[in-house]
Every structure is written in C-alpha cells, then in structure tokens.
C-alpha cells in the first residue's frame, strides 16, 4: 500500500527536527552554528522546512484520504467535474494559490530578505581581513594587516586513505596550519584562486563562497565561540577535490595576539635565512619537505607525474635544462621560471606567491637532483629573492 512508502518518506523529513532525540552518531540538521549568519540561516532553514513539511503532510493527507475512499473496489462512483463551475468554487481554487503566494513572498520571503542582506554585508564594522586563495589542492591564507602568510594542506596520511592504517578522529579534516582567528571580531574574508574555481565552506559559519581565479569574492564571519571548526572545499576542482579541508581555530583575542607575534617571528627568521648561503644538503632536505607538501599531489612521490595533465619531473627536459642565463636572469620557460611564475592555463601555479625564497630555492634544487635527475647544481635563496 502506498501509505507505507509515504510514511517512510515523511518520517525521514520529520526526523530532521528530532535532533535532540537522535542517536549521537547521526546528524539530522545543520551543525551547531557559531556565527550570527549561521544562526540566522539555521532559523530560516528550520522555518522553511517546517512550512514545507506542513504543506507536504496536508497534501499527502488529502491524497491518502482520496486513495482509500475513492476506490473502485469500494464501489465508489466517479464524479464528472473538470474544473470549478460556480463562483464560490472558483474562489476556493484560488485559496491555495493565494496561500502559497503569501507563504512564498511574505512568510518565507521577508526572513529570506533579511538573511540575504545580512550575508552580503561584509564591510560594516569589519575588524580585520583574511585573504583566502584556493589552489589545486591547498588553501593559502594571508592576514594583510599583520603581514602573515601561510599555506594549509591536508595532513591525513595516505596510509589512512588507502585503508592501510586505522583512520584518525578527524580523518580528511586535518591540516598542517590552522587558520587562527579571534572570537567576536567581524572578519571580512576575501577569496580568490590561482587555477580553477574552489569553494571555501565551513558549515558552522554559514559562509560558503567561491574562490574564482582572476576575481575577488568576499564573505564574512564573526565567530562567537572559541573552538576548532572544520570544513571542506565544495566545488569540484579536480582529483584532489575531496582532500582540501579547511580548519579554523577561534581563540580569545589575547591568544590571537600571541599567535600573530609567533607567526611574525617565524616569517622573519625565514626571510633572514634567505640572506645566508645554504649548503646543498640543507637545500635538499628542505626541498624534500616542500616537495612532499606542495608538489606531490600532481607530480607524484616518484616524480613521474600523471601525464599528460601533470608532466613527469624525472628526465624532464625542463628540469634538465638551463634555468638562469649567464647574467643570472631567469631563462623563459626554464625550470626556476616555471616554479616561480607557473604556466598559465594549466594547474601549474606561480609559487612565488606561496613559497618563501628559501623554499623555492630548496625545492628547485631538490627537483634537479632527484628522481634520476643529476644536474648537480643548486639555487640559493638569495638568487630567488633577487628574481622576484
């Protein structure tokens, strides 16, 4: 009988609202909101769902009544009407229409208007700016006022992904560098991308916005509760799309200041290291680390790449060719040029925006002396700095 299936379908919907009673492992509704925007969105969602379920149940009840009463097996004789015929009937058919009009544009429409206006107001009373840049497949974060810049990538080990190891608690939702933000500050979040479209989504913030190459988009968050919030990229951005998590750590303002000071110190020491002369071993060691973080998703751990989309580094003409001319200038389309400036129209991004001088020098040196490549030369951070 129809009612079994009907019951199954609306019971599922009704369950959205029974979150309090639900088994802890199942999530029936939005995760707990921690920003005014997310809270507002949750309220709007709940209201809309309630109205939708009410409409659905009323219509379903009418249908079920009809299905059970007006059946041939009960000897019910069919009526013959094809439309409203009297004035009062016309009026009655207009009632559901008018009700829907009212629900759409007043009951739902007005709260929806207010939440859209709230969502789009990224500037009023903003306290700080966070710039987010999506790249295949990592997020770069920048705090323009503080001068802080770092890259955040997935840290879930491959062994867990390929089921060779037990999965950690935050499987696929852990990164090396958390975004740290102060609580109760309106953060204006600017988004862009270096290659394809990504979407920055932290469900508990109620903020989801695309990061588009060549354009700037914005959203905002005022996190009201300290804690660690996790999200993921939400726009299909290639094979690493499922492995581009976002982790935001909301801390008190005092802790945030401490963190900013630490980051600044770190960045200064990195800048200072660009001035000194590095040994080849140091460059190789640092280069292997950078490679594992930045390059391995495309060019693979063995340097073989995934041709034709991601070329092999092993035996590559580019890598086994000159990178600087006699005057110390970049050879166009040479190895160092490619790493620093990327290749437009492909997934190869310009790493000079992402990596420090030391990191660029190290990874280029590493690539020229690994995977069977034996160029034997090296790049010093100072050289990379000079070429910016």
């Amino acid at each position: 009988m129809a009612y079994k299936k009907l019951f199954a379908s609306w019971a599922g919907f009704a369950a959205i609202f029974s979150s309090g009673l639900a088994h802890a492992e199942y999530a029936w509704n939005f995760p707990e909101p921690v920003t005014p925007l997310a809270l507002d969105t949750l309220h709007v969602h709940n209201e809309f769902m309630l109205i939708s379920i009410a409409i659905f149940l009323v219509v379903l009840a009418i249908m079920i009544y009809s299905i059970f009463t007006h059946r041939k097996s009960k000897g019910h004789q069919p009526a013959n009407f094809t439309g409203p015929s009297t004035k009062s009937q016309v009026l009655w058919t207009l009632v559901p229409f008018a009700m829907l009009l009212f629900i759409d544009f007043v009951v739902m429409g007005i709260p929806a208007y207010h939440s859209v206006v709230m969502m789009e107001d990224t500037k009023t009373d903003a306290d700080m700016v966070l710039k987010v840049t999506g790249s295949q497949w990592k997020w770069q974060y920048e705090y323009p006022a503080e001068g802080i810049k770092f890259v955040s990538t997935l840290t879930t080990p491959e062994a867990q992904i390929y089921n060779k190891e037990a999965k950690g608690e935050h499987y696929l939702l852990d990164v090396d560098n958390h975004v740290v933000l102060p609580v109760n500050k309106k953060v204006r979040i600017l988004l862009t991308s270096t290659d394809v479209i990504h979407t920055w989504w932290v469900p508990q913030f109620g903020a989801k916005r695309d990061a588009i190459p060549g354009f700037m988009r914005e959203t905002w968050a005022r996190i009201e509760k300290p804690g660690i919030y996790r999200g993921q990229c939400a726009e299909l951005c290639g094979k690493g799309h499922g492995f581009m998590p976002i982790v935001v750590e909301a801390v008190s303002e005092a802790d945030y200041k401490v963190w900013v000071a630490q980051q600044k110190a770190k960045q200064e020491s990195a800048a200072a290291s660009a001035e000194k002369q590095w040994s080849k071993d140091d460059l190789m060691k640092q280069g292997a680390e950078v490679y594992a973080k930045q390059c391995v998703v495309c060019h693979q751990a063995n340097g073989q790449g995934l041709p034709p989309t991601f070329p092999a580094l092993a035996g590559s003409k580019l890598i086994n060719g000159p990178m600087l001319d006699a005057g110390g200038r970049l050879v166009k389309d040479g190895h160092l040029d490619r790493v620093m400036n990327g290749k437009p129209g492909t997934a190869m991004q310009a790493f000079k925006n992402t990596l420090s001088d030391a990191e660029i020098a190290a990874v280029v040196t590493f690539e020229r002396n690994s995977f069977g490549n034996k160029m034997g030369d090296m790049v010093q951070p100072a050289q990379a700095k000079a070429l910016r």
Binding site: A2, K4, K5, L6, A8, S9, G12, Y26, W28, N29, F30, P31, T41, V44, H45, F56, V59, M63, S66, H70, S73, H76, P78, A79, N80, F81, T82, G83, P96, L100, L101, D104, F105, M108, S115, E120, I161, N163, L172, L173, D195, V196, I197, T199, K208, R209, D210, I212, P213, G214, F215, A234, G238, G240, H241, G242, F243, L306, T309, A347
Partner: protein, 532 residues
Amino acid sequence: MTTATIATHDDHHDHGHPSGIQRWLFTTNHKDIGTMYMIFALIMFMVGGAMIMAVRAELFQPGLQLMKPEFFNQLIGVHALIMIFAALMPVATGLANWLIPMMIGAPDMALPRLNNWSFWLLPPAATLLVMPFILALFGIGTGAVATGWTLYAPLSVQGGMGVDFAIFAIHLLGISSILASINVVVTILNMRAPGMTLMKMPLFVWAWLITAFLLIATIPVLAGAVTMLLTDRHFDTHFFDAAGGGDPILFQHLFWFFGHPEVYILLLPIWGFMPHILSAFARKPIYGHKAQIYSFWAIGIMSVIVWAHHFFTVGMPLPALLYFMYSTMAISLPLAVLFFCWIATIWRGSMTFETPMLFALGFVILFGIGGLTGLVLADVAADAQYHHSYFVVAHFHYTLFAGGIMGAMAGVYFWLPKFTGHMYDEKLGKTHFWLTAISFNLTFIPQFFLGLAGMPRRIPDYALQFTEFNMISSIGAFSLGLSQLLFVYIIIKCARGGEKASDKVWEGAKGLEFTLTSPPPYHSFTVQPVMK
C-alpha cells in the same frame, strides 16, 4: 468527445517496406523510431546506473577502496550526462514519436526523414561519451570527462581529451534534440485532426510543444558555451580566462541559461502525460485542462529567467541575488497549480491501482518532496549551506529520478500494451514499483541529512561522521539499480507475447490513440479522424 474512423483495412499503405536491419536503419516510421529511442534510452539508463553503482560502492565506506579520485570524477560526470541526455531525453522523445501522431490523429510525424536522422545522431553521441573510458583501458588519453556534467571552466579548460569528447557528444546530442523539436512543433501545428483546436489538444502534446520551444531556445546557448570552451582549450581564446580578459563565471551563466530550462525540458513531457494516467485510473475526466496548459506556459517562460539560482555562492550583487531568489520562488505557483489539478483529478474518482497508477501516484508524492526542497533552495542565505552539498543531490534526484524516471516508467507501463499489443505482467510490474519506490527513498533520504551535516558532493572519500548514512544510501542504491533489471525483463516479456491487449487497454482510457488497434497499424491513421 472524439470520434475516430478506423480504417478497416489497416495496412493498405504497407507495401515494400524494408525489412530486417534495414527496416530499423532507414525507417521513417514514427513508431519504429519511437521504439528505437526508447530502447536506446533503456540501454543508456542501465549504463548510467551501472556507473553510479560503482560510485556508491566506492562511497560505501570511508577510504579509497575501488578507484582513484580521477576515475571517480569521470564516473559522476558521465553518469549525469548519460542520464540526462541519453536516458531521460530520449525516453521522452520516444514517447513523443509514438504518441503525438496517434494523439492528434496524424499518420506520422511531419518530417519523417529528419526524424530518422534525429535518432541516428544519438548512438554516435553516446559512443563519444563512453569511448574515452575504453581508450583509457588501452592507455590512450586519461579517460572520460572528469569535470562533473556542468563542465565548469576553468577546470574543463585544463582537463584531458575526455572534455573534447564530451563537447562533441553534446554537439551531436544538441543537434539531435533540435531536429526532434522542430519535427514535434511542425507536426503539432500542422497535422492535427480537423476539429482539434489547440485548446482541445491533449496535455501530453501541449507539454511537448512547449518542451520543443524550450529546446530550440536553449540548446544553441549550450552549444555556444561548449564551443567557446573548445576554442579556449585549443585555439588560444580566453573567453573563460580572466588573465586574458575573460570571465570564468560567464561559462556558468551560459551553461545554466540552458541548464535550468533543461530541468523543465526533462519534466514537462512527464507532467504532460501524468493527468492522462491519473484520469484513466480514476475513471474521471482531467481536472483543469486549461489551467494546466497555462501553467506549462508559465513554467516554460519562467524557467529561462531564473538560471542564476544554480550558483548563488559565486558572489553576485545583492539586487541580482534578490531577483533570482524571488523569481525562483514564483515558479512554485504554476507548479502548485499542476499539483492541485493532479490531486483534483483523482479526487472523488473510482480508482484502481495498476502499475502505471502506482507509478503516477508515487510520482506525485515523491516529486512533491523534490519540489518543496527546491523551494527552500531558492533562499540565498540558506542555499549557502545546501549548495554543492548532498542536500542538493537528494533534492534533484527527487525531481529527476522520482519526477523524471519514475514518471517516465508510469508512461511506459501505461502505453506498453498499446505499443506491443500485449499486457505486461501486472504482478511483476507492481513488484517493480514497490522495489523502486522503497529503495529510491532508502537511497536519497539519508543524502538530505548528509548534506545538512556538511558533506560536499562529488568527493570520492569522506570524513568519518558521514559513514552510516553513506552506507544506508549505498545499500539503497544497489537495490534500486538491481530492481531495474526486473523492469528490463518485464518489457522484454511483454514485447515477446502475453495476454492480448484490447484496443482501449484500460477501462478509463481516453484519447485518439486508444481508438486504434493494439498494436496500432503501420500508419496510425490512414483516414483522418474528426474531432467534434
């Protein structure tokens, strides 16, 4: 209401038809072409289904078990393209070919040779879609298109040659649809029986007329968009590249200017025949014939002005967001009129519950869930949570599987005895319905919750909190897929024989097609019927 003059000697035009394989290759007969469309759709439905069952197997538990993410992306993209262009659209076109001439009292479609071409463009197009998978097995290329069915630039600009294959497949599919649409429009406007005014025309015919106009209006935009993509990929243009002065969002605007009406292109034919079925099994005339025609028009027109609600998160000016939000909500009004008419059609009827009726009632209820969840998606702020999450996946499967495919199944069961001359196995048909309806809900209800909890769509692997619902959903998907084997069996069994179907087939059936024999003669009406 109608009087049909049936030719007593029904095949006096039947001389010298090609037989064997030539009959099918060169046929210009609307019934043969309709049959080929429907068989093609069924085969591709099974292919698309097999692909998504592989995807659900991968998603059965967290971790990567069966496939690499690249292959996963190819499967989800090709699944969608196949289901939309090679399963749902052809089945609707197949029904149009079979039914439109019979419903309006014409001997055939107006442009029979064109009709043959519109069908024979499909198999090469489907081959182009699937071939990259096979080529990859031989080490050629990187497999099929891996960008999702939306082919968003710039991802599609840097994709492998699978994208080029998809672009050419879309061109062929588009040409096929436009040719078929022209044929439908010309047939409907020129070949109606005397006395069949536009307002007397059956709803299925009306719905297809509007579908055809929508196709003619929007397919060229898609063709243009994918051609621009092709030149961006190979001829150094920069339509979608900001560095060269282009705009990646332009692609989304062009794509969804086609993509949103496409939803209605898929659904309008189904909405068109749904009242025929409900009215036949309620033994009651269709309620609100005119109101439904006006609603079709309203939905058709509105569908081309609301496209940007598919990418609210891309960042638009506030007035644009408000416009697309309110215009999208407005579509619920004509749609509600349709629902109202469907329910009023069964109200106070004398219902029986044969398989087509079960599918039709299931359609009304489940499609209702799809429609209502669409209403909440229109809200821009809440959409930020739903967009690109599994909530959306569940929503559009309620509209396109429950509304589209289960609706199409209702039509197939309803007219199958007319097409084949045999009754299908009623018991198996009912079993098929219940298996489909239950496993469909088992598959997609959990996906609503996955989406609300924050699981993005198109990810090959997921965080641990999503495990249980994904398992339930996968179990549902496997049983949904396997249930369809029963459907294939029922159709084959019915085509091969069985209880003879009467001309009228169903006690409450109305319409010119039921005045013909089952199966109908080669040229449906050799003497034009007259409508009074």
